[in-house]
Amino acid sequence: MPIMPESILSVQHLVKRYGEATVVSDLSFAIAPGECLGVIGPNGAGKTTTIRMCLGLTVPDEGTVTAFGLQMPHDALAIKAQLGVVSQMDTLDPDFDCAENLLVYGRYFGLKDAQIRERIPSLLAFASLSAKAHAKPGELSGGMKRRLSLARALVNNPRLLLLDEPTTGLDPQARHLMWERLQLLLQEGKSILLTTHFMDEAERLCHRLLVVDHGKKIAEGAPRDLIRQYLEPEVVEVFGIGALALADTPLKALAARVELSGETVFFYTGDAKPLLPALAAHPQLRTLHRPANLEDLFLKLTGRQIREDA
């Protein structure tokens, strides 16, 4: 596959093995300018390893990473000068307040103090942390810390952001604020590579999604297209005592596909109209009729089993 000239980051045939285990297996993707590409997959799917290879921190066994026309790992420093990174774990400096965190981080990019100081107020405002300029990370909530990490990743005005699970562990309010900020960055024309476990996040933010499992790409496309491609448009969830028994009744014929998970039966169908009155005959059960979503897709592609090794 030729490298698309317009792509800002291009990953070709990446392979990473640790001993016997292949963590990333022939993974290829590219990000266009202004695009938000989401990488979704279960824990242990190879998402973080892929990001580390994009950063030159992990050397792949095979394959290439090209960004801004430069080659990893040879041009690692020149590439990283144009990147902003929010890693899964906060690496904020606990000894510095918010403003100092930004100042010190900007220096790593070779920026002059005066340049950075000029940017600090707008970065803090962007992160809704103006009032916390002199608070240390230990005094901040989880959401504030993540936003400070995001502000820190923007200190060099990067063209591409690599965000590894930027909202994991945040409450809904903090998550929504983070999404709003990321939308603003996309409107400014920045590109984003995002890994996430949250399907609503992927659906909201990402123009295109990569579903990976066991280090392999198993699906790729726009969120709505993927749902259309892999799933029936409607889902009826049924749960409550006796729900599981429904899967073996004639009701099954009214759906295109039936799945069981825990206490819940999922009826996937093109048209739920015949199914709903039939379910009404079981008033003790609770039903939820909804359009198919990314979570259904994700579970269909990666399975419903909990992975003990993940």
Binding site: H13, V15, D26, R52, L55, L57, T58, V59, P60, D61, E62, G63, T64, A76, L77, A78, K80, A81, L83, V85, S87, M89, T91, L92, D93, P94, D95, F96, E100, V104, Y105, R107, Y108, F109, G110, A153, N156
Partner: protein
């Protein structure tokens, strides 16, 4: 598919000026705590000096160094300042560097910016050496105030002690690279640094040691540091400065190289 060749961790260091913002980061943290840390840094060496120098010194009287009789306090001060440089550098390159590297993940954050691991290791090495020279300077000040030595050659001893700090921070970073937790450093101190304190001619002349132990002692970095610094305290030039300097430079050079290789290995996941 393109096979990627894994670069050896033993390749030559690739150093740039990006070590400087990392050094400055440590400086900025330390500035906030400089005064309390100064008290901690110089209180212990001074206690040794006062207790042993004046206490033992009264019993010992004078000691012969290279045929010259000197007061015991001068003998001890010129040795123990090397020990202080060693301890300050070692503490910083072990406990503090490990906190930044492993506990706080500061290094990981820095490596997401255009700074490579080699520059971070260099910055940590120089930072630990800076902490050593800072401690040494404070202790030298106290020694001057106590009138232990007024040798003008102390001006030469100062950069030599910076070199001692560099040597010990290079060696300590090897153990930092290998550490799984803080407990590991206890071994380094109890099995390596503490015995060296007693075998390097700090508290008593090397002539007191049995010949075999003395031969081992000649290869220790601290012995060679003392061999350079002690004459300068006595307002003399070291009779043989080339050999001890070469020994220290070897420990520093090899130490840094091995430390860098092992640190690269640690981060190569």
């Amino acid at each position: 598919m393109s096979q990627v060749t894994q670069r050896s961790v033993w390749r030559a260091p690739a150093l740039t000026w990006r070590w400087w913002p990392v050094f400055r980061r440590n400086w900025l943290v330390w500035k906030k705590l400089a005064i309390p840390s100064l008290v901690g840094n110089i209180a212990e060496p001074l206690m040794w000096l006062v207790a042993f120098g004046y206490g033992m010194g009264a019993l010992v009287g004078r000691v012969t160094v290279d045929g010259v009789q000197v007061p015991y306090i001068l003998f001890l001060a010129s040795g123990s300042i090397c020990m202080s440089a060693m301890n300050a550098a070692s503490f910083e390159a072990l406990y503090s560097a490990f906190s930044r590297m492993h506990v706080q993940k500061t290094w990981d954050g820095i490596m997401n910016a255009p700074v490579n691991l080699d520059d971070i290791v260099l910055a940590e090495m120089l930072w630990a050496a800076f902490k050593a020279i800072f401690t040494v300077t404070a202790i030298l000040g106290v020694m001057l105030a106590l009138g232990i030595s007024y040798s003008p050659k102390l001006l030469v001893a100062w950069p030599v002690l910076l070199g001692v700090g560099i040597t010990f921070s290079c060696v300590a970073l090897i153990f930092n690279a290998l550490a799984k937790g803080y407990d590991f450093f206890t071994y380094y101190f109890t099995l390596f640094l503490t015995p060296m304190m007693f075998l390097s001619g700090i508290f008593f002349p090397l002539e007191q040691l049995p010949p075999v132990v003395r031969a081992i002692s000649q290869g220790l970095p601290l012995t060679n540091a003392v061999a350079l610094v002690r004459p300068l305290f006595m307002d003399q030039w070291p009779a043989d400065w080339l050999r001890p300097l070469a020994v220290l430079a070897t420990y520093a050079g090899l130490g840094f190289w091995v430390a860098l290789a092992l640190t690269r290995k640690r981060f190569r996941a």
